[in-house]
Symmetry: C2
Subunit: 243 residues, 2 copies
DNA sequence: CGAGTGCTTGATGGCAATCAAACACCGTGG
DNA sequence: CCACGGTGTTTGATTGCCATCAAGCACTCG
């Protein structure tokens, strides 16, 4: 059984040993869920939040017409299902894109965190704000960019997140089919295919199976129209909580 | 000088008198900003968050090509600029769409809230999760719906928020031009115009200046493909923090 | 009254959807 | 071993939603 990944939680500030120990203690045992299975389906009662221990997952909205929009990609260390904390029943469906292992935390534990570990609570709060930025970027890309730029924005976003958790620079090895990418980008799989070939032929990316190699990072960033983000690290106001 | 509106903060649970008093005490004096002026521009250092006391505002992303995507509409009582708490410099531009009055809260005050008023902190946290749901809905609408449905989704979203803060049911009186709506919906102003006339002619809405009357709420909800949301109210885990 | 802003309408064009079909790969079972 | 179905990728032909371009109109304001 692997240890609990905490990259996302300690991204903005170090946490003391007590906080980390508390956080670990609040999660249940590991549970395996296989590829393409729902972790939680939209409409289910909200009784817990999840930590993704290993594998890839997504959050998505299923629409009445049978279409779906993937609204967030998750890598190990991510907390899943938190947005629905504001609701009686889950707004999003959580799906494993590979076999995944998750742990769950009951709602009562969230109360404990706010009561007993304010620094931890603040870290979760900032993480939620970061997620809002990610969503706003995706929104800007769907609303105001043609397909090629959307793809570049997505690829760079995932790339930068992967590098952040220690993966190799210049490579994105994700488990998505072109149909999945279409559900992320608001396109059809046919068009995603054309976009990818086009980027390939222009020399911006190369493809090896489901792996994408970013052969020209500078050109991709120029395409994307969005700046690289500078996240805070150990701001005064956060450090001061621990005192 | 008007009192501080707290609808958004008390939406999910009542707060005790101490928490409310603390919250009030953390905001600076009212400041007026006139229509179409930036409250904070993207790239500015993040030194505070804002409370919108009166008027309408938006958060938007300005892209390199000069286009913009409006990512969030704000009504009185909303906290503005919180997503950029995760960043060194602001990711979004905050703009008043009418003359607005705002109050600001320094970052150090956020630290105090987490340290001294865990129930208040938890309310802010849930509110951030709610904002993520809103963004995910917008994303689903831009990614997977044609223009008419996007408009219906937007109109209903704003309508339901306005009703929530006590405005008349069946009416949306907003200060947006068709060009603004285009920046919200990821369309052009020309197309927004055609969409609105079309809905008007079909009898789903009526227009009186900038006011939209929702003449057929049921039909609009059928169009929108998204369910009405049931937000939590006074869940156990939140109440338990105050004990 | 002229300039500016916002709304409306028509004509044209393009990006992406839709429809359709072939191809590659893979695990399964006859 | 090969047939087979299933999944995913690729490519072409056609369609359509929405963008773009252009111009006229209504209203406000200095």
């Amino acid at each position: 059984m692997s240890d609990i990944p905490m990259q996302r939680l300690t991204e903005f500030a170090g946490l003391n040993a007590n906080d980390l120990a508390l956080f670990r203690s609040l999660f249940g045992p590991e549970k395996r869920i296989s590829r393409r299975r729902d972790i939680r389906t939209q409409g289910d009662p909200v009784q817990e939040i999840f930590l993704l221990s290993s594998g890839w997952a997504v959050s998505c909205f299923d629409l009445r017409g049978g279409e779906r929009q993937i609204v967030k990609l998750h890598t190990p260390g991510d907390v899943l299902g938190a947005p629905s904390l504001a609701m009686e029943t889950a707004a999003e469906t959580l799906v494993g894109m590979t076999d995944v292992t998750i742990r769950s935390m009951p709602l009562s534990a969230i109360g404990r965190i706010f009561k007993e570990a304010p620094s931890l609570a603040a870290s979760l709060f900032i993480s939620a704000q970061q997620e809002r930025i990610f969503l706003m970027e995706r929104l800007a890309s769907l609303g105001r960019m043609p397909a090629i730029k959307r793809f570049a924005v997505l690829l760079l976003h995932v790339h930068d997140r992967l590098v952040h958790i220690g993966r190799e620079c210049g490579v994105v090895d994700w488990p998505f089919t072109q149909a999945d990418l279409a559900d992320i980008l608001g396109l059809t799989s046919v068009h995603v295919n054309r976009i990818m070939r086009s980027l390939d032929q222009q020399g911006l990316i190369k493809r090896r199976g489901s792996t994408v190699i970013l052969s020209d990072l500078a050109a991709l960033r120029r395409l994307s129209e969005l700046p690289e983000r500078q996240w805070i690290h150990g701001p005064d106001w956060l450090a001061q909580i621990a005192l």
